[in-house]
Every structure is written in structure tokens, then in C-alpha cells.
């Protein structure tokens, strides 16, 4: 009998509720787009994503992206043939900076996705089940959060070995607890809602309640937070690469390029300038857009 009841699944989100949510999102999007700065950032990030997708295919010197050496043109200042100059191996900086967009954006996206994948279900479990499960998970979260997150990422990356993949893993391992926290607080309030009680009443297994009813409905705020974290993650990845713990030469990663430029920056200003500008504008766009989003979601907490 219980099997029969379990199959009688309640819809996770009613069509009415879904329509209301879509309407709400539309209004918020509209509010966000009234903010001129946010509009500029959306366009900039759109272009950046486009560059990340097709840029590496269109660059003037694809060989420079792969690390091809041409010592005849090493450390040349910006010119028509090399608009952003060349590095110590004669590689075209423009091609490399453009190709770097794909690396930074995709690495950041993977980092955030994995941190969500790890952190969110744990948060739903902690908030949805409560009791000892909650205590154990949250004490572990406390421990992780008591390290400055970049420092923990550095320590983990050192032990995993230096590579871009390991840098991503290290940041994921130091970052997931923030998402656990957010999802947990959502889950706690969802647990008292009618639809969860209804599901409990008809005998839905605890596991289904947590992962099918609570988790999907608790994801809204954490996804917003995750998108706000993009800038932070890009900066951290660049810092790890700069310390030699992330991408390895000749990968055209922005932080690594700045690290390599250190030996030449007093003479070849363009070498350090352009990768740095690329990081700064990318992070700036995400940060300003994040502020805009925060303002729309919570007008009272308006900061910058």
C-alpha cells in the first residue's frame, strides 16, 4: 500500500505558482534593465561570453594561443600587426588575451557549478532533516568557514599539485559551505510550508522530500548568490595562477600572463597591462551587475 501512496506524487511547483514566479522574474529583470550601469554590464558580459565561445577561433595568431614561439618578434610594443604587443616568446598578446576569456569564464563557471552541486544538497539535507544531521553538517561548515577561503584554497592547491583543474577543485572545496548555509536557511522555512507538509502527510519518503520538494524550491537565492560570486572566483583563480598554483605555461590564462610579465614589466608595459585590464573589467562588470541585482532583490540593502 505504501508503494501505491508513494507513487502518488505531488507536483513540485503548481502551474499557478510557476506563472507567478515567471511574472516576478520578468518584473525584476525590467527593474534591473532600468539601471543604466547594469545594462552596460549585461551587454559587456554578453560580448565577453561571445568572445569566450568564438574568440579563440577568430584570433589573428592561433599559434600564439597554443604557445608557438617566434623569437623574431619578441617583446614588441603594440603595433598594427600586434595591437597589444607581443610577449617574451614573440607570441601575440591580443590573441592570448582573447583566448584567456574562454579559460577564465569557463573555469569560473565550472567552479561555481561544482560548489553548488556539493553545497546545495548538503544545505537541503541539513535544513530539511534537522537534528543531528543538521548539527554535523553545520559544524563541518563552520570549520571550513573558519579558514580565510583563499588561504584554504591555496593550501589545498599546494597539496593537489599545480594545475588549472586542481585550482578549480581547490576553490570548490573552500567555497561550497557558503552555499550550504544559504540553502539550509531556505530549507528550514520551506519545511513548514503546506506543500512539504502535504507530501509528508501522504507518506513521501524523507529522501524525496528533501531532494525533490525542498531542494528545487530552495535554489532561487543561492543561484543569485552564485552569479554574484563570479567576479570573486575569477579573481581567486587569477591569484592562484599568479602564485604558480593554477594554469601552467603556455596556457593563456590572465593571472599567469601577469605573473610571467613580472620579469619584463619595467620595459614592456603592455605585457602586464592588458591581461590585468581584462581581469579587472571582467570582474568589474560582474560586480556592478551583482550590485544591481542585489538592489532589485532587496531595495533596502542598497550599497553600491
Amino acid at each position: 500500500m505504501s508503494a501505491g501512496v508513494a507513487r502518488l506524487r505531488l507536483p513540485r511547483v503548481s502551474s499557478q505558482a510557476l506563472a507567478a514566479r515567471v511574472r516576478e522574474t520578468r518584473i525584476r529583470w525590467h527593474l534591473l534593465m532600468r539601471n543604466k550601469l547594469a545594462r552596460v554590464c549585461v551587454v559587456f558580459i554578453g560580448i565577453l561570453v561571445l568572445v569566450a565561445i568564438v574568440g579563440p577561433l577568430l584570433v589573428p595568431y592561433p599559434d600564439s594561443v597554443r604557445g608557438g614561439v617566434d623569437l623574431n618578434v619578441k617583446l614588441q610594443s603594440p603595433s598594427w600587426s600586434h595591437p597589444l604587443g607581443t610577449d617574451e616568446f614573440g607570441r601575440d598578446m591580443f590573441s592570448r588575451v582573447v583566448a584567456g576569456a574562454r579559460i577564465s569564464l569557463s573555469a569560473a563557471a565550472i567552479t561555481i557549478a561544482l560548489a553548488l552541486l556539493l553545497g546545495a544538497p548538503l544545505g537541503a539535507l541539513a535544513g530539511g532533516v534537522g537534528g543531528i544531521v543538521d548539527d554535523v553538517i553545520m559544524r563541518i561548515v563552520d570549520v571550513f568557514l573558519s579558514f580565510p577561503s583563499v588561504l584554504l584554497a591555496i593550501a589545498i592547491a599546494v597539496f593537489l599539485g599545480a594545475s588549472l583543474r586542481n585550482a578549480v577543485l581547490a576553490i570548490v572545496l573552500s567555497w561550497w559551505p557558503w552555499y550550504t548555509r544559504i540553502v539550509r536557511s531556505q530549507a528550514i522555512s520551506l519545511k513548514e510550508r503546506q506543500f512539504v507538509r502535504a507530501a509528508t502527510a501522504i507518506g513521501t519518503p524523507k529522501r524525496d522530500i528533501v531532494f525533490r520538494h525542498i531542494l528545487p524550491n530552495a535554489m532561487g537565492p543561492v543561484i543569485v548568490q552564485a552569479s554574484l560570486d563570479f567576479g570573486y572566483v575569477i579573481l581567486t583563480l587569477a591569484a592562484l595562477s599568479f602564485l604558480g598554483l593554477g594554469a601552467q605555461s603556455p596556457t593563456p590564462e590572465w593571472g599567469l600572463m601577469i605573473n610571467l610579465s613580472r620579469n619584463y614589466f619595467l620595459t614592456a608595459w603592455w605585457y602586464m597591462l592588458f591581461p590585468g585590464l581584462a581581469i579587472s573589467f571582467t570582474v568589474l562588470a560582474f560586480n556592478v551587475l551583482g550590485d544591481g541585482i542585489r538592489e532589485v532583490l532587496d531595495p533596502k540593502s542598497r550599497t553600491y
Binding site: I154, A155, A239, I258, L266, I279, S280, R302, T303
Partner: protein, 336 residues
């Protein structure tokens, strides 16, 4: 109140224990080979076995954890794989330079960031506010290490105003060294009354301190602005204004004093962030501090040094957070 403090302190102890476990797991479970770091690449098999014994890696894992705990309690942070010196001794040697740098960076951030936030709130949506906000959001978006290089390029390469790096000019470090009294160069210069050396030291401090403090400055300005804006809407501020108090008094004596809480909390959290950024800034400015030591340790895979700093800063973080919570709880306005 007493019960709250006790509970908070106990939670802190629990978290410190968790921090120790996590750090230990990191050193033992993750694939790494401290033995070959210890003996070097040309060691014989017998030497490697001996080194395993020396490092205690041949004992069962729980014994290793006990040894690790006991050592931590004694203040023994392990032995550097590079120099075979105790890590704690090396850290002590590098501490003064980093402490000086962090102190100046924090002073720079607080003395500039907080007034910036206050004025931003005062002139909300007008030009000073716009400028302050652009500065703040740019400062949090720039990689610290890139800002450091930019400063070097502008102030050393182009303007010839400031030294490229290091702590002192050669004249003061080699020819006329300041006698060591405390190890803190700033104090040593003052004690020796050597004002030339002091000015020289300060000149070397400017760029690293700005590079290190810029992010914190921005965060403090943002935090101060938002909490000031909230308070400036309160009735008691309107009342103070309607009494005819001058804007300066309203702003600083009435509003600012009450807005400082969140800013202090953020500042406490920033300390950990600052420490990490010393890794980046000190390498670039060749500053002889802990950050430089760790950045070198990262490249040479000197695990004990990295673990020691990670552990120490986590413990410091836990204590700072507990203290911040207790201070906030003591505040009569939030006492339940």
C-alpha cells in the same frame, strides 16, 4: 550573558579542533610526498626509510594525529622541509615585517575608507558619491598583484618617486644598519632616533601598503556608506537636524558612531583576506615577511610552512570571530 560567552567560547574550541582535523587530513590524505622533499632527489632507499621514521610517517594514522595535536599545543609547527629549521622560528623572524606592513595597510584603509563611506552617504547620488563608488568598486575588482605592479610602473618607472621594492635602501641596510632592538624596523628606527632611516623605511612602505590596503579600503567604504544611509533615515537624525545641530555633528557624533558596528565586523573578517594578499604583495615588492616566505614555500612545496600559516590564521580567525560576536552581544542595544 555569561552563559552566552561560555557557549560561544566552547563553540570556538570545537571549531579549532575541527580546523586541526581538517588540516591534518589535508596533510595526510592528499597525495603528496614529504619524504622526497626532506631527503632530496638523490637519497638511497635506506635514507628514505629513515626519513619516514624521522617524520613519523611510519606510525598508524591516529598516533600521527596525536603527535600532531601534541606538537600544536606545544607551539611546535613542524620543521621546514627546505631549511630543516623549525617553522615557528622562521615565522617569528618574518613576522615583524608583515606586522608593520599590515598595520600600515589597515591604517590606510581605515583612515581613508571610513571617511570616504561617510561622505558618500552624506552626498548620496551626487558627484562625491559617484566618484567614491567608482573608486571603491574598481578597487575590489582589480587583482591585488596587478595593482601592485601598476603602482611600481607609475611611481618607480615613470615618476621616479618611490623605491621599487625591499624594506630599506642599501645605505641603511648594509652601510649604516639600524641597531636591532625589537625586530620591528619602525620601532627600531624610533628607538635609535635615526630619522633618516625612518623616512627611508616609510618610503619603502607606501606602495606595498597601498596595494595591500586598497581592497579593504573599498570594502570599508561600501560598508560604511550602506550602514550610514540606513541610519541617516532614522527619526533621531531628523530630530537632531531639526534642533539645528550642525551637519558635521549630526554626521559624525550622531550617525557615524551608531554605524560603526557592521564596519568593525567587516574589518575583523578582512584581516584574513589581508594576510592572504601579503602573499601576493610581498613577493612583488620583495618584502621580507611571512607572505614572501609562504609564496616561496608554495613554489618549493614546503608543506609544513604552508600548513602552519593556514592553521595559525584559521585559529586567529576563529578567535577574532568569537571576540566580535561577544563584543556585539555585550552591546546593550542588541542584548536580548
Amino acid at each position: 550573558m555569561g552563559a552566552f560567552i561560555l557557549r560561544r567560547a566552547l563553540l570556538g574550541v570545537l571549531v579549532v579542533f575541527g580546523v586541526l582535523v581538517l588540516t591534518f587530513v589535508l596533510t595526510r590524505v592528499v597525495p603528496s610526498d614529504p619524504v622526497s622533499q626532506w631527503v632530496g632527489p638523490r637519497a638511497t632507499a635506506a635514507q628514505r626509510v629513515a626519513a619516514r621514521g624521522q617524520l613519523g610517517l611510519d606510525k598508524p594514522i591516529y598516533v600521527q594525529f596525536r603527535v600532531f595535536l601534541a606538537a600544536f599545543v606545544r607551539g611546535d609547527l613542524g620543521t621546514s622541509l627546505a631549511s630543516h629549521q623549525p617553522v615557528s622560528k622562521e615565522l617569528r623572524a618574518f613576522l615583524p615585517a608583515t606586522a608593520d606592513l599590515m598595520f600600515v595597510a589597515v591604517a590606510f584603509a581605515v583612515l581613508l575608507g571610513i571617511p570616504m563611506g561617510v561622505f558618500s552617504a552624506r552626498y548620496k547620488d551626487r558627484r562625491p558619491d559617484h566618484i567614491a563608488r567608482v573608486v571603491a568598486v574598481s578597487a575590489v575588482s582589480m587583482p591585488t598583484f596587478w595593482l601592485a605592479l601598476l603602482l611600481q610602473m607609475v611611481f618607480f618607472r615613470w615618476l621616479h618617486l618611490l623605491p621599487l621594492g625591499g624594506q630599506q635602501s642599501q645605505y641603511y641596510s648594509v652601510i649604516q644598519p639600524v641597531p636591532k632592538a625589537t625586530g620591528f624596523l619602525f620601532l627600531d628606527c624610533v628607538i635609535a632616533g635615526n630619522w633618516g632611516a625612518l623616512v627611508d623605511y616609510l618610503q619603502h612602505l607606501i606602495m606595498p601598503a597601498i596595494a595591500l590596503g586598497a581592497g579593504t579600503l573599498a570594502v570599508l567604504a561600501r560598508m560604511t556608506r550602506s550602514s550610514m544611509l540606513e541610519i541617516l533615515n532614522e527619526d533621531y537624525i531628523t530630530a537632531a537636524r531639526s534642533y539645528g545641530l550642525s551637519e558635521g555633528v549630526v554626521l559624525w557624533r550622531y550617525a557615524f558612531k551608531n554605524s560603526i558596528g557592521p564596519t568593525v565586523t567587516v574589518l575583523a573578517l578582512q584581516i584574513g583576506w589581508l594576510l592572504v594578499n601579503t602573499f601576493l604583495v610581498e613577493t612583488i615588492f620583495n618584502w621580507p615577511g611571512i607572505g614572501n616566505y609562504i609564496a616561496t614555500s608554495v613554489v618549493t612545496l614546503n608543506y609544513p610552512a604552508i600548513i602552519a600559516v593556514t592553521l595559525l590564521s584559521a585559529v586567529a580567525y576563529v578567535i577574532l570571530n568569537a571576540v566580535a560576536d561577544i563584543v556585539i552581544a555585550v552591546d546593550p542595544r542588541v542584548r536580548h
